[in-house]
């Protein structure tokens, strides 16, 4: 039985994605990733080579950590379609390090029956140091009814939702350091998305969306 899906109507700007703590990175994982990705750069798999170029040991390719952060997105946005995903690599990940992936909804908007949420993403190590920072755009169905309609060949539910960031400037802002990010990430439970997704099945726009519709 597939997991419950995420719908646009249930997502709010500021919602935090449930943090994803990965198992510590080890050298076997680095070999596996090298094999799976076809990237055999010796700095990731050959300890002697890594030391010969001045590294304390082999280290994880940035793309492996980007893959972990990608897991955070797809675990959260079940049923959504990833449209954009980008990261900046900040700090190296060494064998023994634990990667914790976090994210927060930064914007949501919809037009012409297509709905998008934007999220800020970041990964930290066990010391709360920032490893990677990124953004992603995910397309979602407005609601279960919207999905059912589109899957049966009908027109999508159309509700105009302007970018929230235009109406209300973000208060939390982007995490600038590991400590801040860690605190905010740990505080909140995975928001109230579950409840709203279950109870709101009709395409009735929430008062907020209705207000926005007028504003457009």
């Amino acid at each position: 039985m597939p997991a419950r899906k995420l719908y646009f109507e249930a997502v709010r700007v500021g919602d935090e994605l449930p943090a994803l703590a990965k198992a510590p990175v080890d050298r076997v994982q680095l070999s596996r990733y090298a094999g799976a990705s076809g990237d055999y750069n010796p700095v990731h798999v050959d300890e002697l080579y890594a030391k010969s170029v001045g590294m304390p040991s082999v280290y994880a390719p940035g793309m492996l950590i980007m893959g972990m952060l990608g897991q955070l997105i797809s675990d959260w946005a079940r049923g959504g379609q990833l449209r954009r995903y980008g990261v900046r690599f900040i700090k190296m990940v060494w064998p023994g390090d634990t990667v914790v992936c976090k994210g927060r909804v930064s914007d949501r908007h919809g037009s012409g029956g297509r709905y998008f949420v934007e999220i800020d993403l970041w990964a930290e190590n066990q010391r709360g140091e920032l490893l990677m920072k990124g953004q992603s755009v995910i397309q979602l169905f407005y609601s279960m009814e919207d999905e059912n309609r589109q899957r049966s060949g009908q027109a999508p539910i159309v509700i105009e939702v302007p970018r929230e960031s235009i109406l209300t400037p973000p208060t939390g802002g982007h995490p600038e350091g590991g400590e801040v990010a860690e605190e905010t990430g740990a505080k909140k439970a995975p928001s109230n998305t579950k409840k709203s997704a279950k109870t709101a099945t009709a395409p009735t726009p929430s008062p907020v969306s209705a207000a926005k519709k007028i504003k457009k």
Partner: protein
Amino acid sequence: MLDKNAIGRSSPPTLNEVEKGSIRRFAEAIGDYNPIYYDEEYARASGYPTIVAPPTFPASFHSAADLRELLGVGIKSLLHAEQGFEYERPIFAGDRIYVATKVADVLERTGPAGKMDVAVIEDEGRDEEGNLVFRARRTLIVRAAKENA
């Protein structure tokens, strides 16, 4: 300073066949056990035609490009600074995707350690009908090989 003439250099499209086993091994290496990457029935019940590839799976695609040759950088080390993907649609097991690589830009940036050469490499994946499937952009910092320590 990198050779500005490198901009626009590209490799011919190379066929990548997306195999279920490759998806499984890729997801396993990340430690991502979402059944949509492993279980065909589960993937179908989740609304996909078949097994899906994880978001960063295009990193495993090969192209005919020799980056050092495209950039003309010889033995210098290439440091991966940024990566971005744009997806036209999900990638599925059984897809046949042609990947072409080109040098999108070369520029000089000023970082904490002074000026550095930066190259932006763009991969484009298209299906057999020529429809765009994804675009990937890598930003690489080009450094002398011994500066690593």
